[in-house]
């Protein structure tokens, strides 16, 4: 059997605090839960946080930079998730030296990971500095995490420009497949005209929609406990929304979930069996 190479997906936004790490953790965990061997990499050198969101902060021994500098090999640095057997985490370094992230080093690690994993999810740091550029440079696909808010939408547009001009694919006349993930969405506020609607944001950014994650209390609860939203025991709106986003990422036809309002409506009309 011919083994195909893994896909590199960057989770990026430009702006900080919009939900990149939350989304990276939730999407990676959901991909793994469905049986796809997945690794999620923290590119935020100096300010690592993915380990906390994934709940493995006490198991970090070696990190990304250790591997680049040859102080550890990849298998020593990868942390295997205790909940999902197909899920691995590569933590960021706490070193303040951002130059530790070299293009050659990142390329070597990503090509090694492509051989072993189906999905390689790169959690980008905020900004458009070195760490962010390195996290997107080798990407096949990009998830642009955006809040329905002016500064976030503007920064997302900037990042789309960077993806289109300063990535490996762009430099080789290919295109990175881009997906919009709208997070912290409040439909009630949209209805009142207080918040940009998904259509507004799509019209401005002009990229296909991957999913809409509603503003949800379960996100903070999940991070408090170091559990990716998609691995929560309880059902929540955010968990269901991330699951639909992963359906879409995998190209699975969207079907209304049991929680969908149309189904609730349908239930009212459905005759008892």
């Amino acid at each position: 059997m011919i083994k195909t190479e893994g896909k590199v997906i960057v989770v990026t936004s430009g702006k900080g605090g919009v939900g990149k790490t939350t989304s990276s953790a939730a999407i990676s965990a959901e991909l793994a839960r469905r049986g796809h061997k997945t690794v999620v990499i923290d590119f935020d050198i100096g300010l690592r946080n993915l380990d906390l969101i994934m709940g493995c902060e006490r198991r970090v021994i070696y990190d990304f930079v250790n591997v680049i500098q040859g102080d550890a090999n990849l298998s020593q640095a990868l942390i295997k998730d205790k909940r999902e057997e197909n899920l691995y985490i590569l933590p960021a370094s706490q070193t303040r030296d951002k130059d530790a992230l070299t293009k050659e080093g990142v390329e070597a690690i990503l090509s090694a990971l492509r051989k072993d994993f189906t999905f390689i999810v790169c959690d980008s740091p905020a900004g458009i500095e070195k760490g962010a550029l390195m996290s997107l440079y080798f990407a096949d696909e990009a998830i642009i995490v955006t809040n329905p808010e002016v500064s976030s939408v503007r920064d997302s547009d900037r990042i789309i420009g960077v993806l289109n001009s300063r990535s490996y694919k762009a430099e080789h006349n290919q295109e990175i497949k881009k997906h919009l993930l709208l997070t912290r969405y409040a439909p009630q506020r949209v209805k009142r005209g207080e918040m940009l609607s998904v259509e507004d944001v799509q019209e401005i950014l002009a990229i296909p929609l991957l999913g809409i994650i509603p503003e949800s209390t379960s996100v903070l609860n999940a991070s408090n406990n170091g559990t990716p939203v998609t691995l929560l025991d309880i059902q929540s709106d955010a968990k269901a929304a991330y699951q639909r986003a992963v359906d879409s990422l995998l190209g699975i036809e969207q079907k209304e979930t049991r929680n969908g309002w149309t189904n609730k409506l349908m239930d009212l009309f459905r005759s008892p069996a």
């Binding site: 002016v150 503007r154 547009d157 949209v190 005209g193 207080e194 019209e203 401005i204």
Partner: protein, 88 residues
């Protein structure tokens, strides 16, 4: 104070803030994209091609051709400076 609150309420009624956000974003994003596309990487090539074209009609020294792109606010100026060799 009451009038101020009333005014705010009226303003709010006239134009929902999301609509304002969208309009402001559309403007800022279009400028941003223009800036991105105005990457000055093409200047050396433009300069070279200009020298080629002008050389067909006038004998010029390639070193005496100066091409500059200057941006001042929303206005961009492409400045072309060619020093013709003295005829003597």
């Amino acid at each position: 104070m009451i009038t101020k609150t009333l005014k705010n309420l009226l303003k709010f009624k006239n134009k929902p803030s999301a609509k304002n956000a969208k309009e402001r974003l559309q403007i800022v994003v279009s400028h941003q994209r223009l800036d991105d596309s105005q990457d000055t990487d093409f200047l050396p090539k433009l300069r070279h091609e200009l020298v080629m074209v002008i050389s067909k009609y006038i004998k010029i020294d390639a070193d005496q051709v100066n091409v500059q792109l200057q941006k001042e606010g929303s206005c961009s100026v492409l400045e072309l400076n060619i020093v013709l060799p003295s005829t003597h």
